[in-house]
């Protein structure tokens, strides 16, 4: 949760300028803000999310009745599961993936599990808070392992919000919801 706290703090508008000058300037962080620059790790994660979305085109949702969820989600999920290892190797720093302590398996295993857990349950065909937390754990683990750039207070965290969290919320979640057609 420290990670979420940092993300949260980064999104508060910033007051810049000292007290002796004219009223301080306020910088707010809107989606699509040109003041927020995406570092290479963030660009890589955006491409990873894009690839996951692209798999939806390969395994499109069934058109039949969807009252109890869409079985093709399971197909999509299996496809993603099969490609997960390659996707992570392609888009995450190798130092992060291979990180391990003497008693634990490499971080890659945990990262795979977190990311796979971000899209809902293929068994229950639903999506809940736990899945969102899983995605935060995925990004947060990369953050803890030094996979992002170290910048002035908040700016990389801000870019993570606008560049990674936002696409997940905006594109992945609605796609997943559309499969289940819960509404």
């Amino acid at each position: 949760m420290t990670f979420v706290l940092q993300l949260n703090a980064s999104m508060f508008p910033r007051s810049v300028g000292d007290d002796r000058s004219m009223p301080p300037k306020t910088l707010a962080w809107e989606l699509g803000s040109p003041d927020v620059v995406f570092s290479n790790p963030i660009i890589q994660l955006r491409q990873l999310l894009s690839s996951l979305n692209g798999i939806i085109d390969e395994v499109p949702p069934d058109k039949g009745p969807r009252r109890f969820g869409n079985i093709s989600f399971r197909k999509w999920f299996q496809t993603v599961e099969g490609r997960m290892s390659d996707l992570l190797a392609q888009h995450l720093p190798s130092g992060v993936l291979s990180f391990s302590t003497a008693t634990e398996s490499p971080a890659k295993n945990e990262l795979e599990a977190y990311l796979l857990g971000s899209f809902g349950s293929p068994q229950r065909l639903d999506y809940g808070t736990g899945h969102e937390l899983s995605f935060l754990a995925f990004v947060g683990s990369i953050w803890k392992l030094g996979g992002f750039e170290a910048t002035a207070s908040g700016s990389e965290e801000r870019a993570i919000v606008l560049g990674v969290i936002e696409p997940y919320v905006k594109r992945v979640v609605p796609h997943v919801d559309w499969w289940w057609f819960r509404y």
Binding site: M1, V4, L5, Q6, L7, N8, A9, S10, M11, F12, P13, R14, S15, V16, P24, T26, L27, A28, W29, E30, L31, G32, R124, D126, Y127, G128, T129, G130, H131, E132, L133, S134, L136, S153, G154, V161, I165, E166, V169, K170, V173, P174, D177, Y183
Partner: protein, 115 residues
């Protein structure tokens, strides 16, 4: 929040919270000058205008896309929050607390279920 998402509400309310000079100064209430009234989530035109810039309204916009009927009926928690008078910082604090609580509940079980 009534269904399954927390993060856009936390981060989106932060976007409209009062400006700070450092992360140590996070306020417990108040709003950014010229930010919308939290009650505006019930106004479709405002939501459509703001959803592209703000994560809170983006999430509300998605609800508008997929749910029918009165807002208070399909999203009672969000509707209650829209009545908060103490500003977006207060909404931010409350959303974050809710997520913290759920996080603890989640990590105490092996699997986290919907809700």
């Amino acid at each position: 929040m009534d269904d399954h998402s927390f993060v856009p509400y936390i981060l989106g309310s932060a976007q409209f919270a009062p400006a700070i000079s450092s992360a140590a100064d996070i306020p417990a209430e108040g709003s950014l000058a010229e930010s919308p009234d939290p009650a505006d989530v019930t106004k479709a035109t405002v939501v459509q205008r703001l959803r592209k810039k703000n994560m809170y309204f983006g999430a509300i916009g998605f609800i508008y896309d997929v749910k029918k009927g009165p807002f208070w009926e399909h999203s009672p928690m969000l509707y209650d929050i829209s009545g908060v008078r103490a500003g977006w910082a207060k909404i931010n604090k409350a959303s974050y607390s809710l997520l913290s609580y759920l996080y603890k509940a989640c990590t105490n079980q092996r699997v986290c279920y919907r809700g």
